[in-house]
Structures are given as structure tokens and as C-alpha cells.
Symmetry: D2
């Protein structure tokens, strides 16, 4: 009978292959097209799970992996990794990405005044929300980003996402999948100052591996894992809000984040998904002279990788730092909005 | 070393006290006020967790319970218990509860045609939703229902929920709580015909206990559990949709559901929450001549009980029936919309 | 000095050229493509007002025409031609055309209870709406319909309307235009039974001219006029609502309306716009075996004609029938939603 | 036969009674409650039109007044007085007053690509909006503001406006009324610098009368008129937007506007409504040490006066300055959203 306090290491080894990765200094800042095309070619998973596949890297997250994740629970302590959804959020309206607007259909003041017309003293409150699906903590679906008009698995973008939504890879196809072993790499704490990386800091494979090394065995990353990368930028933005200075450019401005050069690492580790505490996952400004989210362009349509953004990793990170255990069970099932190219989620980590 | 395949039974025993319950036949159909007042008095948890409490029965769901739930995972099989969120849902507009409207901010057709203005061939799709928070699978928050102008824990309704939302018991206060041991009572399968209870069927404590007895030891219900009750009505409604006859009155019409007489049982079991595969949790028509959701009026403001509605229990129920195991880990964290009196959720059960 | 009680007839004569029109019986029900292509060719106004034109037939509505319209006012009696915008409207969700959802941001109950936090006893109420722009009384913009991928004036549809809206012919370009001489043809009253045409009744040029003849000189239709055509279907639908039987298929089902054969007449009269009391302007079912709104396909992208739908013409029609005057000043300026392909309007007729 | 070029002066004389008005210097800045109560008492119209009245000062706008307005049209030139409704508007989210979010249900790119599924080459575009009803150019309804829990005509606020909307004075009750004689007082041009009043400038009765005197006979203001007051602040805000510096605090910050001391003048003139080119109609900061919109508190619930905000008066003002005629026909019918406490409008002035 296995000892449940020791995670089962018979699952595929999570050690990343011993290889070297592109150095950001080698990137030709003037040629994003070339760099993207080369990375897409190296990392493409098109056809890997058949022509009809709609799950991409979630194929790596199987029942065995999920059972492994559940075995990591010891105390039963739980952490919500979601920021709130409200009108005072960080969004600034870029491309109509506004903050949520929550309004009431019925209220306690109405109920107390007796204007609701219900019998026997019952009263009720009800509410409505209008929001971009990427307004706060969310998963990008596989229909969120295209590469030269191509969507995940080589489909034409216009065959996938029209005004009616994503008819092929809508987020509802992933509704029952995203629960398994989570692992947190707190790069902010490992490599930053006071737990935070500065805006514009590009996290390279070397930084990720240094963080794994610093955090120890429970931080190993491999097939089917749900990887969380903490930069500390949210901590900084919250400090600004608390000081009455607002969110600043947290939603879309300069930020620490993954370097374009992590594309091969993210591919090679065979992780099922990766999420950060930033608006845009990758480093901003991007690492080319004229560019917009080039790592997305490799990861989503070519690798088929699920990206999470605007996650709140602070409370979990503090707990992990305290007990030295960086792995946990993570349930992060997106709201199954039919045809959505991304969806809000309240991820729960249990240790 | 404990055997992880045998759930730890040292946690508070889940057997409901050996007592008798009100028989529905004893209800005075002409006096809902009296019945509600009496039940509210018997079952009130006001003050049980202090004057400032905002969590109600979620106080029963502690870390130990959550760890117990995680130990129930064996295969790692996962089940989404969420219905979809889309425009073709069951809502009929009662009190402005409409179906979600999902629209696109950017599309694949735009990306493919090259009208988005992004560099290096990247294209994107983005989307927006407008919906009642109770449009599909959801948790009722503690600010959802009032009893004669009183909200949970004895607060005045108008001190809790105004047009600005629920300032006290907003659903965000429960953001990191709802993960633990889930148990499914498939009353439809145990007591119905072809797995379904007819509309208007009132599930009594005796029915619940008969179902537990039929399902066996893994179906025991007790302190801190998340109880799921399947009636089979969703199965029937889906058959209607598949036959091109629409949802009918699934959202608000006659339905099987919990009898008013279960109030004491729900209180005595000390469960953390309870969810059903119906629109309204309790039996409809209600069991009084003139009434509207009287069991809600006892459960939410008086017991402080979290109620889930419009859950999809069918796939999970089929699996439980197949392997005879009716307990599992359940992660069902609502979307933390600040000030919401209820919130959508994609619950994930893992066995 | 002209007598202001006698409209100035020196403006371009409004009599339609003396010609014959296609008889609906001559339509080849199996060949909508052919019929549409032929009508589009005969009626095209592409290039008529230059390559940059965004106004189409509103070019016919000039200052002189507007002054002529104002001179028609005698009593000063005003009529709103708008149906209400509310949740109990006729929409049934076809292609996500739902009824408006109106919610409150602040209420009188909140104000009265003193929870709003304002000084010196002031209280307020505020509100929000979410709705399709074609939910109720509206004008179609020129970007609303395309013919084989072509928009008004020969532009490619994808160069005009993307997910960002109509960048060329957005309804805001017509914000200050639509006020002038209105004329009502009450075909329901002239040719129907009890003032109503039956569903499926195709109004032909002959019917329009018979109505003009019946109504007399004030009903003449010509260049720059805003033509209103009453079928009586709204009267019938309202009777159903009043009887508790709902809107039925008023929004999208069988309806009286303009015959495909009116395309040439609508073109030849050089009217500025035309509106009806129906959901879809043209007769439904359409006059081809397999078709969807073929007259729209000729009128909007080829003629550049502004179409109004879901107008309420009943009160105005009763007044016109009573005094025998079928012309009036009409102000019907659409809400200038930037980039909209249609917009709500509260048209005011003044006699 | 009257000369139509000379407005009919047999209607009730529009000259304001020869009386003196409160001087702003006499206001006790520390006692808004006292000042408001006194003004409310002096100006109350409660009961003037019966206990059931829902129209307030719109009762002054009768058919004769509307006919008088129509006779003012000479050239037929029309002016939209609406700002646009779009995501780039001035709103900053105060009390959830956001800018409109306009999204597409169908697009030209979809149509051109042939993914819409319609027959015979027809394609379509459709759209949706979500917005506060006071997001842009609007009329305040009589349910918008309360005075110590009292609404227009002495009703209790909670009897009028609940979460379901304004059940008594909803804006739909004014749907067919607001068309008549408009008169523009361009105080910015008459008394300001380069046509603009500075922020914080309180327009007093003396300023209004000086402007009338400067503008001449066509600027007389009296019973049933729709008064437009231009401050020039919008001109300034637009210049800022054009310079890439955004709207600044146009929505809610310091602004020129009507002094609290105009309450008696607005009451005595018996105007039907008054609108400005500012966010809030009255001067901001308000003229008391601690205050919020005290003139609203007198005007709406006590006088029953319709207030318009965020109107665009610039093009009309330029035309009036050019030809020296400050009166015109004005059609400004609000969108009849059932139960709304305010509504968007595209006002059209015709000269």
C-alpha cells in the first residue's frame, strides 16, 4: 500500500529534457515574423491528437494525473486564485475590455419595504452581470488567438470563430477537464526584489529552471501539470490601489512575464496549461520592436496550450513559501459559456 | 498508515440523528406563514457562528472535511456538473431572468480577412456576456432570500442588499470555501420510474433516507458535506429539447424537489450546501395553497444554507450507479462577483 | 406671401411616373437569385451620389423638403410612433434578438431608506439597458444587409462592417437627417378587413397606388418623403397580448408586408425612407420557395434605402382617418450609436 | 393671413415676470438643507395638474405651443443635438455610469465569407448595446431625483421607483410630448471668453436675462418652451479629446452650469424643459460647502421639470449666431424604455 504522503512518482517523469534553450539576446528584434514562424514550426502540435482534436494540451491531463493531484492534498487548506469580478477592476476599455457591470434585479430594500408582491413574507434579491469574458481571472480558449488566419490544429480562423462564437473549440469543450496537479513557480520570490519582478522583466527558461531548483523537488514541472507562474506584479498593483492610486497600467501596460524564448520549454514540458498573475502572460513590452503578444501566437494556435491570465497567486504563494511545498491539487474549470473563446474561472488550489 | 482506499471515518459521524420528521400530510396547506415561522424557529442558526458571520453552513466545511473529500479520489475521473451558459437555455424571462447573451468583440473571420490591425500575422477573438447570475448552474448566496425583511443572521434586508449589491454576504465571501466531500443522492434512480421523479413529487426526509439506504455506506450524509440531489427532471427536459420541443417549463414550472418538511433534516445533518438538477430546489407547485418557495425562506435566511440550482448531475449519477460509489471530491467555487447574491459555477466532481 | 395652410406644391412633383410594375404572379418562385439580381440591376443607386456616399436615399431629403414638412403642421398634435422598449416585448431570441433588459443602478426604495450616502436629503435613481439595437422600433442602417458580400454603394461587406461595427455607414452618419414630410399609407384600412391585412398578404405597387387614390391628395408620395405603411398587424398582435395570449409570432413569423415587386416602385418614387408596423417590412413568408428577406437585399445595399421596422402607426392612423389628412411633419432621428448598423428611434409625427 | 416669417405672438407672452431673483452671494453655504427647503416651498408644483399627474412641466407644452414651434421653421436646416453613444465617451464609471458597449451579432466579414447560412446571397449585420441610460445625451425623467424620500407630485420614492423601474413616472409617459419651440441661450458666447464659460461659473438669472437681451427678441423664454443653455464646456472637452488628452473630468468634475439661484426663474418662466451641454446641468462644484446637485433636488421632484444633459449645442449655436435667430422647432422625444428614470435621445432642431 503506497504511503499517501509521498506523491506517486511512477507517472511520466516531470523533468524537462536536458537541453539548451534560445537566449533572448539571440532574438532578432526586427524579425518577429521569422522568429514566430520558426518557433511555431518547432513547437507545433497540429495533428498530434488527430484532425478533430479540440483540447490541445489538455490531452496531457488524464485521469491518472488528476488522481496524482488529489493525492497531494494533506491539510485540506483551500485557496481561491481568482481576482474579484467588479466595476473597480483593472480594465481600461482597450478593445472594449471593460470592467464588469453588476446590477440588481431585486433588492433587500425592496423586500423590506414590501413592494415585491410575494406571499408569506418571503423576499428576494437577484442580479445580472455584463462583462467581457476576459475581464478578470480567466482561461484563454483555443479560439482566442490565430496565426496568419490559422487556428489550433490548422483550421482556418473563419471556420472556427464567427460572430456566433467559436463553433469548434468553444470553451465548453474543456468544461470537465481542468483539474489536476498544480505547481507554482514563484519567480518573483525566487529571483525578484521583495518578491516582485520589475515591469519588462522577461522570464526565460533559465529563470524557470532556477526557480524550480530553488523551490525543490515539489516544484518539478512535467506532462499534464497546470503551471502557475507568479511575477509579483499583482502584489504591486494592489499596493497602488490600496494607496488610492488606482490600477495604473496593470491591464495592458508594461509587465513582467514569460519571454518569447520560453515557447520551446512550454512545449517540451508537455504541461496542460499555464497561468500568471499578470494581464497578458508574456513580458510587456514584447521582445520585438513592433509586436503584439508573439508568444501567444506560438502557444495557442500552434502548441494548443491553455493560458490563464489575471490569476491571484499571492495567498497560495505565501502558503507554499511557508511550508516549502509548491505542488497541490488544482480545480480550475472555466464557466462553460457555449462558443466562448475564453472564460472566467474561480480556480481553487487545495493543499 | 491508513489505507487511502478507505475513507477516514474518524471525522464527525455523518449519520443523521435517529429522529422522526414532519410528514407532509401534516402540513396545514392554508397556513404557510405559521409553518414557515415554526420551522424557522426550530432550525435557526442565527448567532451560531457569531454576530458577524457571513458564511452560514459553510462553517461546517473545514480543512479536515476538504482533506477527507480529496482522499475519495481514486481513478481521477472528472465530471462537470454545469449546464451550459447560452442563449438556448431554459430561462423564459420570469422577473427578467433571461438566457445569457454572448457576443463577440473580435472574430476569426475578421482575423482571417486581415482587418484587425495587429502586426506579424497575429489575430484574435474576444467576447462579452450579459446574463442573470442565476441564468444557469449557480449557487444562491446568503443575500438571495429574506424572511419578513430579515436576511441571514438576523440582519435587516435593507442593510444587506441595496441596488449596489450585497455589501455583507456577497458571494465573494465564499470564494475559497466550496470544495470538499460531495455525496449524490439519486432519488430519481432510487425511487422514480426510469430514473425520474414526476413533476410535483415532494422529496421527504423518508425519501432521502431510503435513497441513502439503497445506495449504501458511501451515500451517508453529514456535517460539512456538499449534498447533491438528483430528481431526473433535467434528463426529461433534455429529452424534450432533443425532440425539438424545447425546454417547456423546466425554468419555473412544476418540478420534483425537496419537500418543505426537509427543513429540519437539512438543518440536522449539518451539511454545508445542497444542490439539485432543477430550477428551484424545492418541489413545485409548493405544498401550500398560496406560496412561493417556502423552503428557501427557511433555508437561506434562517439556516444559512447554500443552495445550488440548475446543476447537471446526469453523467456523475451514471458513473456512481455503475461503480456503486456515491461520494467524491467536489470543487464548486462560485465566480466571485463582488456583491452578488448568487453566482454561476462550473462544479467539478472527481472520483 | 404664400398661405401657410396650403402646402407648397412647387417642390418636385410627388406623383410616381405612370408606368406598370411587375405582377407578383410573374415571379419565378424557384429563382430568387435571378429575380434579386434583375431588380438590383434595375434599381441600383450605386455611384449616384459619388463613390464616398454614406447616406443613400437620405440624399433626397434636403432642407427644402424638411421645410415643406414643417409647413404641414396645423394643430400641433403629436404622435409617438414608437413601441415601448421592455422585457415584455415581442422578440423571441432569433439570432440573439432578445427583448431589452432594463435594470436599476439606484432606486427610490434605496433613497427612501437612506442608504445612498448623499447629503441634504437628495436621493436618486439611475438605470441601465442591454438590448439588441433592433429590439423594438428602429431604423435599419445601410450596413445592415449585404448582397453577395456587397454593401451599399458597391463596397465589400468586410470593408464596412467588422466586429468593431460599421466603420463607413454607421448610423451616426444619419444622425441629423431624418426629419421631413411624412406620409402614411394605411393599406390595412384601405384594403383590409376591419383595418387589418392578413398575415402573408403581399402589398404590391397596385395596392399602394389604390391606397393613395383612396386617401386622396395628401397621400401623394414622392422624392424625399418618409413613407409609413400600416398593415394592421401590430393592432392584431396587441389584441393578442391584451387577451393574455402573448405576441405570438409577431417577431419573425407570417406577416403582411411589402411584396418583392415593390422594389421598382420604392426606387422610382425616390422616397428617403419607408417604415412599417411589422417586424420585417416585407411580406412573410417571402414570395420565393426558399428565401429570406429578398426585398431587403435589393433595397438596402442596392437602392440605399432606409427601412424602419416595428413602428407603431395606430394612433396616427386613427387621427389621419378622422381628419382625412395623411401627411405630417415627421422627426425620426435614430440614436447615434457609433458604428451601429441600425438604431432605436422614437419617431414623432406632428400634424 | 399671417406672415409665416413672423412668429405668432398671440401665444402666452414669454417674458419672465419683472421681479428680482436671489443673489448667489446671499446663499448660506453652510445650509443647503434650509436653502433647498425654502426653494422647494416657493417653487413647488405639486398638485398643480392633479394628484395623478406624471408629466410635470410638460403640461406647459401643448399643441398650440408645438404648432408655434413648427412655424419657426424657414430653411429646413436640421441639427442633431446628440453626442455619440460609444465606448470612447466621457463616462468614468461613477456609480457604474460607464460608456456604452456596442457589440455585433453578425458582421460583414462573416457575410462576405459566407458563413451565415442565408440563401440567395443575402448577408446581414446586427448589433447589441449595453449602456447606462444616462451614458450620453439624455432627458432625466421625473423619477430620477428625490427630495427627502419624496418624488414628483408628493409621492413616496419607494412607491415610484423600485428595482423593477419607475412604475409611475417612467419615461414612456413622456414619449409623445417633447416637440415644440426650442430656444437657445448661448451664455458661453454672450458672457464667456472665446465662447466658453470657465468651470465653476454659476449662471444666475441675471446672466440668463443678459443673454436674452444680447440675443434679442427670438431668444425670449416663456411658457412651454424647451430651453437650451450652452456653456461651452463641451467645446473645451472636445478640444482636449482632439489633442489626445481625453475627456478629463467632463463627466462629473468641475463645470459651468446653472446656479442654485435659478430655481425660481426656471419655475416662473414655466418652461417645459431645459437642457445643457454639460454632464450635470448645474454648476459644479455646487454652491454649498457640502452638497450634491441641490438644484436637481428642487427642479425634478418639486417643480416637475425635465432636465436634459450631455447635449451637443455647438453646431446649432454657430448657426444661430450666424443668422441671429435663436428659436427653432425642436423634436426631442426620449426612447420610451418602460419604467426608465431617464432616457437617451437624439434631439433634432430644425430652423
Amino acid at each position: 500500500m503506497p504511503d499517501p504522503t509521498v506523491p506517486d512518482r511512477t507517472v511520466p517523469d516531470r523533468t524537462v529534457p536536458d537541453r539548451t534553450w534560445t537566449d533572448p539576446a539571440e532574438l532578432d528584434r526586427g524579425d518577429p515574423e521569422g522568429a514566430i514562424a520558426a518557433a511555431a514550426k518547432r513547437c507545433s502540435n497540429w495533428g498530434r491528437w488527430g484532425a478533430d482534436d479540440v483540447l490541445g494540451t489538455l490531452n496531457f491531463l488524464d485521469d491518472a494525473k488528476r488522481a496524482e493531484g488529489a493525492r497531494l492534498v494533506r491539510r485540506g487548506a483551500s485557496f481561491s486564485l481568482s481576482q474579484r469580478f467588479d466595476a473597480d477592476g483593472p480594465q481600461k476599455g482597450w478593445r472594449r475590455r471593460t470592467n464588469p457591470v453588476h446590477t440588481m434585479l431585486d433588492t433587500g430594500t425592496d423586500a423590506e419595504r414590501g413592494v415585491q408582491g410575494f406571499p408569506h413574507g418571503i423576499g428576494g434579491a437577484d442580479d445580472v452581470i455584463a462583462m467581457p469574458l476576459q475581464a478578470s481571472t480567466q482561461w484563454d480558449g483555443l479560439g482566442h488567438i490565430f496565426d496568419h488566419g490559422n487556428a489550433w490544429n490548422g483550421r482556418r480562423a473563419g471556420d472556427v470563430v464567427t460572430s456566433l462564437g467559436d463553433a469548434v473549440t468553444g470553451i465548453e469543450t474543456a468544461a470537465d477537464r481542468i483539474a489536476g496537479r498544480g505547481v507554482l513557480l514563484d519567480v518573483g520570490r525566487a529571483l525578484g526584489t521583495d518578491g516582485e519582478l520589475p515591469d519588462g522583466f522577461a522570464i526565460t527558461p533559465a529563470h524557470l529552471e532556477a526557480t524550480i531548483a530553488a523551490q525543490g523537488d515539489t516544484a518539478r514541472v512535467g506532462r499534464g501539470d497546470l503551471l502557475l507562474v507568479r511575477t509579483g506584479q499583482l502584489t504591486r498593483a494592489r499596493r497602488s490601489v490600496a494607496a488610492g492610486q488606482g490600477w495604473g497600467d496593470y491591464a495592458g501596460g508594461p509587465a513582467p512575464g514569460l519571454s518569447f524564448t520560453t515557447a520551446d520549454w512550454l512545449h517540451a514540458t508537455e504541461i496542460a496549461g499555464v497561468a500568471t498573475d499578470t494581464w497578458g502572460f508574456e513580458v510587456r513590452p514584447n521582445e520585438f520592436d513592433v509586436a503584439f503578444q508573439p508568444l501567444h501566437q506560438v502557444c495557442i494556435p500552434n502548441i494548443g496550450l491553455f493560458l490563464g491570465e489575471l490569476w491571484d497567486l499571492d495567498a497560495l504563494a505565501a502558503d507554499c513559501a511557508a511550508d516549502g511545498v509548491w505542488e497541490f491539487f488544482l480545480a480550475a474549470a472555466p464557466l462553460p459559456v457555449t462558443g466562448a473563446v475564453g472564460a472566467p474561472v474561480n480556480p481553487i488550489a487545495v493543499k
